[in-house]
């Protein structure tokens, strides 16, 4: 007989107890410390910081652990914390030309001031499983270049010849947007688009960037440079009248150089796509710069023919916390709506069946 669905509260509590049990796993094994996550799963921590837009390794590591390694869940937890934090100012733009680079590669020049610096990269590793990593692994001390040298940006090299567009300026009186504080509106200016892309899902941006390479909105890209390192964050204090350093953050920057044949308004020159991401993530920074460039259709009078060029499509769907929430909400009960649809389909079937005497035979005859 019918048993009314009761006890949701107890069921939820029990489910969460089981979740905690599964998160901890086998109790005979030591639990992972936050420090271990920060030190040994650093790129997971970086991704969570980037897409949650909160630069705090310890909190990101806590979120990764709490989420059992589920990246989007960890991003979600960290964002829900970030949103409650008070804002006491907006920093000055970081100067990446003054970055203490740990990695810097350019695909457009064989050699250039500052040189090519591979840094801690997976590139050129052979992806062979390494059994020596099972158990304790002894690792050699790294060979490091003397840090501290400022490295000229590739875009500045091209700029000397006037062959590439400059950094660009937002229009006079433009107040820098913040889409975590203001409702989104389209068409969206580039500052907000870049913010959305920086917070956007790595996988989604990767796929879109890939689609531009396969002909869906081609942009003829070259990696002007990718650089990873520490940059100083400065805040201007009204009481002092000048900017003071708050500390450093590690970022990945990508300057994509794209061909542009020119238009009635602009001479033929190289254009740029820009990517800047917290932590170390070249995949994300490069994808972001490709998508940034392909979204700049209005500036170059380009026709919108591909998804990656359509800002409303890209920006509305790049946020993985929004996407996962709405996709997964389909598992919430919908039986009231389903009942309404069931009622309609039954009614339509009642209307359909009498109109088909003999059913299939009639159809066949008509076809003959």
């Amino acid at each position: 007989m019918y048993v009314a669905v009761k006890g949701g509260e107890a069921a939820i509590a029990n489910a969460h107890r089981l979740l905690a049990d599964r998160r901890r796993g086998d109790r005979s094994l030591p639990s992972i410390t936050i420090e271990q996550v920060v030190e040994q799963l650093g790129l997971a921590v970086d991704r969570v910081m980037a897409e949650a837009s909160l630069y705090d390794r310890a909190l990101a590591a806590l979120a990764v652990r709490q989420a059992r390694g589920d990246m989007i869940e960890a991003i979600f937890i960290l964002r829900a914390y970030r949103t409650t934090l008070p804002r006491f100012g907006y920093s000055e733009p970081v100067d990446t030309a003054r970055m203490k680079v740990e990695r810097r590669v350019s695909a457009t020049y064989k050699d250039l001031p500052g040189g090519q610096l591979l840094g801690p990269t997976f590139d050129y590793t052979h992806r062979l499983l390494d059994p020596s990593l099972i158990g304790e692994d002894a690792v050699d001390e790294p060979a490091l270049k003397e840090p501290g040298e400022h490295v000229m940006r590739v875009s500045d090299i091209l700029d000397g010849e006037g062959l590439i567009e400059g950094d660009g300026q937002m229009p006079e009186g433009h107040v820098m947007g913040d889409l975590t504080r203001e409702p989104m509106e389209f068409p969206m200016a580039r500052d907000l688009r870049l913010q959305a892309l920086a917070r956007g899902d790595e996988g989604f941006l990767l796929a879109l960037a890939y689609s531009t390479q396969r002909g869906y909105g081609r942009t003829h890209p070259f990696v002007g440079e990718v650089r990873i390192g520490e940059v100083e964050v400065e805040l201007e204090l009204p009481e002092l009248g000048f900017a003071v350093s708050l500390g450093t953050v590690r970022v990945t920057e990508c300057q994509m150089v794209n061909q542009f044949k020119g238009s009635a308004k602009q001479p033929p020159q190289f254009t740029r796509g820009y990517g800047l991401v917290f932590g170390q993530s070249e995949r994300k920074a490069m994808s972001m710069s490709l998508v940034d460039r392909s979204l700049r259709t209005d500036e170059f009078d380009e026709d919108i023919v591909a998804p990656a060029q359509d800002q409303e499509f890209v920006i509305s769907h790049a946020d993985n916390v929004q996407a996962t929430g709405f996709v997964e909400h389909l598992k919430l009960p919908h039986y009231v709506d389903f009942q309404a649809e069931l009622d309609l389909v039954r009614r339509m079937r009642r209307e359909y069946e009498p109109a088909q005497p003999g059913g299939k035979n009639v159809m066949k005859e008509a076809a003959e």
């Binding site: 949701g8 970030r82 949103t83």
Partner: protein
């Protein structure tokens, strides 16, 4: 909670509440118009009621009595979760009784019991734009609303009739508010649409992911779109509630066994319980009670 995170009354900080209250006031001033607001990231997923939760959090005071329903029921898991959230962050009184509540947050239903002055119904809205599935671009749909260009919606309803002989929209059935804006009533069954018309209660709609708030003030005209020769009509059930015997209420179909056994019961659990407490009994209530008694023996 340790010193890492301290939260304000009803979770949101006062600046955010002020921003949301302004949006609500604007929404009330322009019935049916979707007001963009700077939706916050909430500690529950987008699509799970973040818009409704933000609206409720912004209007909730310590003396309010809150009721939360999902699919008409107080005991569905997400309703339980949202109710528990407000108990935790606002320590507010909660109830399942529709008449006792000052604020009712809902997903997919309007309570059967008529709401009165002083009550506020807060709807959770997934897609606030009634024109969205006809035109995916926000830039276009905003223009269409501004120009009162609703021909596309009428064409859609007409095509339904041409194809099926009747309008094939059963929930989220579009309405026109105060003769001006076409509005999505959220995915409530169209059965509930007439309850919105001239309601004594304030109706607020929050869409968190889509960052929109809209409202229907008390005593406002809410008309479901239709044609003169195909007037709007609501679902009719050909039997009463199996537990409380109520007629003209929205029913859920419950599958009883694998042999096609079905029963139909009130989707509004509070309404159903209240009727049973007043001695109403449906066809299946008696045997159910008897059986559970036998099982206890």
């Amino acid at each position: 909670m340790n010193d890492l995170a301290n939260y304000n009354f009803a979770y949101l900080d006062e600046q955010t509440k002020r921003m949301i209250r302004r949006a609500i006031l604007k929404a009330i001033a322009i019935p049916g118009y979707q007001v963009p607001f700077a939706s916050r990231e909430m500690p529950m997923p987008y699509g799970w009621g973040t818009g409704g939760v933000q609206v409720t959090a912004s209007i909730l005071g310590p003396s309010d009595v809150l009721k939360v329903i999902d699919q008409g029921a107080d005991d569905t898991t997400n309703a339980v979760s949202i109710r528990a959230f407000f108990q935790k962050v606002a320590n507010v009184a909660v109830t399942t009784r529709t008449a006792d509540a000052t604020i009712i947050q809902t997903r997919h239903r309007i309570p059967e019991e008529k709401l009165g002055e002083g009550q506020t119904l807060v709807y959770q809205v997934p897609i606030p734009e009634p024109l969205r599935f006809l035109e995916p671009r926000e830039t276009e749909t905003r223009k269409m609303h501004a120009l009162e260009e609703y021909g596309l919606m009428h064409v859609k309803l007409y095509e339904d009739i041409a194809r099926n002989g009747h309008i094939a929209t059963t929930y989220a059935y579009p309405v026109k508010v105060e003769g001006r804006y076409v509005m999505d009533p959220s995915p409530t069954p169209k059965f509930d649409n007439p309850k919105m018309h001239m309601s004594e209660a304030l109706q607020l709609f929050g869409a968190g992911r889509e960052k929109r708030i809209y409202a229907v003030p008390p005593y406002t005209e809410v008309v479901s779109l239709d044609f003169e020769d195909h007037p709007f009509e609501v679902q009719k059930f050909d039997r009463p509630c199996a537990l409380c015997g109520a007629e003209n209420v929205y029913l859920d179909e419950v599958v009883l066994d694998d042999k096609g056994g079905r029963m139909f019961v009130c989707s509004d659990t509070d309404h159903c319980e209240d009727r049973r407490a007043h001695g109403h009994a449906g066809a299946m209530l008696a045997p159910a009670a008897k059986e559970s008694q036998e099982a206890a023996e």
